[in-house]
């Protein structure tokens, strides 16, 4: 144990805490943004600080600071313990943590090429060339961005854990926005919407995207959408592309299986969950072919981790197996309530925030169909992909999602492109209607760096492995034009 975390733990024990953990984090970020061939922003950010979580008088207290110094450590420990004592004024019972074996470990990052060694000029140059090639007549905005993170996190606990984890993340993407004289605006992105795709990898991940090759075709699709027909409205069979399915998994499986949410702890912000404990082990969430995992061990996955922010070693669990709801994402305090073991899903956004139950990599296991077979099985339907709009109710049951692009399917073949495709449904009805999932060759783990939860808001980096999949009898075309 290092002297700083040792001081924190000793201080908490001296003040009567029955448990204490300390996370000391040193993190660098770089965000690069280019618009229409010109650099818009390059931001280098450095964060260093520590967070202290204690149990005293049977209740939680937490405090954090960006001043890493002995005197501040003493102050923060005192404050965390004082907060715990205040919390105890309203406790109904003492906090109980599931037992875990203390770990001492050192986890290296998974990058081949440290992205922070690549000059800014090279990053800007790549995005500038890509976005310039997207500025076709009718394209009003072409954006490109890259984001990189390098972090060393030390976790120490009063139970004897001392874990050092290094992490490197890289991500990038481009998008084109096209506008018509009639005021219609359409967007296409590559390889994924918003910040693009992200992974626990180095610069090699960005190079593998081949942004230059895909930039112009992406812009052409945005332009083509302006001339496309509106999304038809009705109940149709739906093939959902891998990107869009990542969102579907995220919103309709990942969030509702967070156990803190199930227990009502998120009720005041993100809401609760329809996956109540009485459904565990028996509720038909999806069809027989639907297998959804929480797996923090997938190499390079953005949601991967060796240990969570409680020092629990990450392990794979099936949230849904053979269509039946089986397991939750959990924590040391919540797992015992539903008879589970902690599986490594307690995560905090930086040093300043207290860990909460978060997604890791939540994945739909691949099936055995080719893309052509998925489409061939549809007489009258729609194929959609590209995340554009999402909304789901506070129990994660009723959703309405919009995609960047869609195509009609008739007679088992892709037909005309459609713009503004939307679909809506009820989570378990939707997943129960799944009758085809793409094979391993179509499988990709998408890195999502903007998952929000908690109060104060915490942003988590998560991921979703998906192949395209087919769903029957879905309401599409919600918005009339």
């Amino acid at each position: 144990m290092d002297k700083f975390t040792e001081r924190v733990i000793a201080g908490a024990k001296r003040l009567g805490a029955s448990y204490c953990d300390c996370r000391l984090i040193d993190m660098e970020r770089e965000d690069v943004s280019v618009v229409g061939g010109a650099p818009r922003a390059v931001v280098h950010a450095h964060q260093r600080g520590f967070g202290v979580r204690v149990i005293a008088s049977g209740a939680w207290g937490f405090s954090s600071s960006s001043v890493v110094a002995d005197a501040e450590a003493d102050h923060i420990v005192e404050e965390a313990v004082a907060i715990a004592h205040a919390s105890a004024l309203a406790k109904k019972k003492d906090v109980v943590l599931a037992t875990v074996v203390p770990s001492q470990d050192m986890i290296p990052n998974q990058a081949d090429v440290d992205p922070f060694t690549i000059p800014d000029s090279e990053k800007i140059g790549l995005l500038a060339e890509a976005t310039r090639s997207m500025m076709l007549p009718g394209v009003v905005l072409a954006r490109g961005q890259m984001q990189f993170l390098k972090e060393r996190k030390i976790f120490a606990s009063s139970e004897g854990s001392y874990i050092v984890q290094d992490r490197v993340e890289s991500g990038a993407g481009v998008s084109a926005m096209a506008a018509s004289d009639k005021g219609d605006v359409q967007i296409r992105s590559y390889p994924m919407s918003f910040s693009g795709d992200n992974a626990q990898s180095g610069w090699e991940f960005v190079e593998a995207m081949k942004l230059l090759e895909h930039a112009e075709p992406t812009a052409k699709e945005a332009l083509a959408l302006l001339a496309a027909k509106p999304c038809p409205s009705g109940v149709k069979d739906l093939v959902v592309g891998g990107q869009q399915l990542a969102l579907q998994v995220h919103e309709s499986c990942g969030h509702p299986s967070e156990l803190d949410r199930v227990m009502g702890m998120e009720a005041s912000f993100a809401g609760t969950s329809f996956l109540t404990p009485d459904k565990k082990g028996s509720f038909r969430y999806g069809s027989d072919i639907v297998n959804l995992t929480a797996d923090p061990t997938i190499p390079h996955a953005l949601g991967g981790l060796a240990y969570d922010d409680e020092g629990v070693k990450g392990r794979k669990v099936y949230l849904v197996r053979g269509g039946i709801f089986e397991h939750y994402l959990n924590s040391r305090a919540s797992a015992p309530v539903v008879g589970e073991e902690p599986m490594g899903a307690m995560r905090a956004d930086g040093f300043a925030r207290c860990p909460i139950v978060r997604m890791v990599s939540i994945n739909l296991e691949s099936g055995d169909l080719t893309f052509e077979q998925l489409i061939a099985g549809v007489e009258d339907g729609l194929y959609v992909d590209g995340i554009k709009s999402w909304s789901i109710d506070d129990r994660r049951l009723n959703f309405q999602f919009g995609s960047e692009i869609g195509w009609e399917i008739r007679g088992g073949k892709l037909q005309d492109m459609v713009r503004n495709p939307t679909y809506t449904g009820v989570t378990y009805e939707f997943w129960r209607s799944c009758d085809g999932i793409g094979g391993p060759e179509l499988y990709h783990v998408w890195g999502v760096d903007n998952c929000g939860k908690g109060e104060p808001m915490q942003v988590a980096h998560v991921s979703h492995g998906t192949s395209p999949a087919r769903f029957r009898h879905v309401q599409v075309g919600v918005l009339h034009e």
Binding site: H44, A59, S66, L141, A352, Q400
Partner: protein, 447 residues
């Protein structure tokens, strides 16, 4: 840290810069939050953070860097890093240079209250207990947060900008749940003394009790009465979609090309005012530029959007003092949205509805079609059927898919009372009334 100490530190760092122009923005925050659910406190946290952001300009090259290290050494290092970063950058031909100082109207604005800054965790716990006890009395479950925040924002630049403001925020939120119903309330103020836990709990509890055993109504077009909480969710989406120069650039702004035209009901006025003490004022933005009053809609006529210095230069306008921390991908942003007060009350509005829906709150809004500000989301925490001028009973939550421009055009009544709703950005607030509107589109019923 005092204004003089912080500005002194930042000016010393400015002097260490070898860039042509340098700007330093410092935000410090001491905040605490008590988080409760299921009638217990499950998290109780504090954080003490500082963030220093530096922009260095060398010719037309701009470099940025940020740090959490607020020491003299940390500031000097980050200034050097920003300058080095600038030299490695290609020219940004569109960068107009850092803005020159402008007078800031500080006297009218005082958003800092000592009692809020000094509040203790025990006080928050006792307030939360009052909400919990009120809920337990009705056999209900309370959840929510009580947050207090004591922050500083300081901006200095080599152009002569020197701005400093302290501000405090206290906000108590309650979601009270029964088996098949829930209620919501939020109270926020710069002054912790204005937070009334009994009233907060009472409103949420009353809604949860009144909306028990919800009926199924809709979908379809309904006349609605929207509480200020519901209006806030919609205005939050509008701010992101359509009220800034960036939205004009992206052609998602419904005001574009309609300045002076009657595009909404004449009773609707919407504006941003960072100086109005009725909200949570901060008199300058993250470039140290004074906040200007910006009218988006004046008696239903199209107005302007907000600008920062970058977009002001790009579009040949003046900055309105609405920059977020630079650089950013959001663009200029209105943090102090007001909707003009009407002459009615929520009770009167409900009494004027023959058959309609009262919405306490919307949830998970997201744009569907940006140009018409068409957004979707669901109702939450207290949705009522209104019949013959009375809220008769609770109904199941509904999904809406509604154009906000269209909603403004069909707004027929606005309350004189407005709620102050602290921003989730941690700075600023919206000040919003209840509204009554015709033809609001509900497109689905939730289960």
């Amino acid at each position: 840290m005092s204004k003089e100490q912080l500005h002194g530190l930042m000016r010393d760092a400015l002097r260490a810069s070898d860039a042509d122009q340098t700007e330093i923005v410092t935000m410090t925050s001491n905040s605490a939050l008590t988080w409760y659910a299921e009638n217990i406190i499950h998290q109780n946290v504090a954080e003490h953070t500082a963030q220093v952001q530096v922009r260095a300009v060398v010719g037309k090259k701009v470099g940025s860097a940020s740090t959490t290290d607020c020491s003299p050494e940390g500031l000097a290092l980050i200034v050097r890093q920003a300058s080095q970063a600038a030299r490695l950058m290609p020219d940004d031909p569109g960068f107009p240079g850092l803005p020159s100082p402008q007078p800031i109207t500080a006297g009218r604005v005082d958003g800092w209250v000592a009692a809020t800054a000094a509040s203790q965790p025990g006080e928050r716990v006792l307030a939360v207990k009052k909400v919990i006890e009120r809920a337990e009395h009705e056999g209900l479950r309370a959840a929510g947060t009580y947050q207090v925040q004591n922050s500083e924002l300081a901006v200095v630049s080599s152009m002569g900008v020197a701005a400093y403001q302290q501000y405090t925020v206290a906000a108590l939120k309650a979601v009270v749940m029964g088996d098949d119903s829930s209620g919501y309330s939020l109270m926020s103020s710069a002054d912790v003394a204005n937070i009334d836990p009994e009233a907060t709990g009472e409103r949420a509890v009353r809604t949860a009790v009144e909306t028990r055993h919800p009926a199924e109504v809709g979908p379809g077009a309904f006349e609605v009465v929207l509480s200020p909480f519901a209006v806030e969710e919609l205005m939050g989406m509008l701010a992101y979609l359509a009220l800034s120069a960036r939205s004009v650039e992206q052609h998602t702004c419904f005001l574009e090309g309609h300045e002076g035209e009657q595009i909404a009901s004449p009773i609707v006025s919407l504006y941003d005012d960072g100086l109005d003490p009725a909200g949570m004022p901060v008199p300058f933005d993250f470039e140290g530029m004074p906040k200007r009053h910006v009218d988006f809609l004046t008696e239903g006529k199209g107005g302007n959007v907000v600008y920062d210095s970058y977009y002001a230069a790009k579009m040949d306008r003046a900055t309105t003092g609405h920059s977020l921390q630079q650089p950013n991908d959001i663009g200029p942003y209105p943090l102090n949205i007001f909707m003009g007060a009407g002459d009615s009350s929520e009770t009167d509005m409900v009494s004027h509805v023959e058959r309609g829906i009262y919405v306490t709150r919307f949830w998970y809004g997201n744009p569907v079609e940006p140009r018409g500000a068409v957004v979707t989301g669901t109702t939450r925490d207290g949705t009522y059927l209104i019949e013959n001028g009375h809220k008769t009973h609770g109904i199941r939550n509904l999904r809406f898919t509604q154009g906000l421009v269209d909603m403004f055009a069909h707004t027929i009544e606005i309350s004189r009372n407005r709620a102050v709703l602290a921003s989730s950005f941690g700075i600023g607030a919206m000040v919003l009334p209840s509204i009554r509107a015709e033809g609001f589109q509900f497109t689905g019923v939730t289960r």
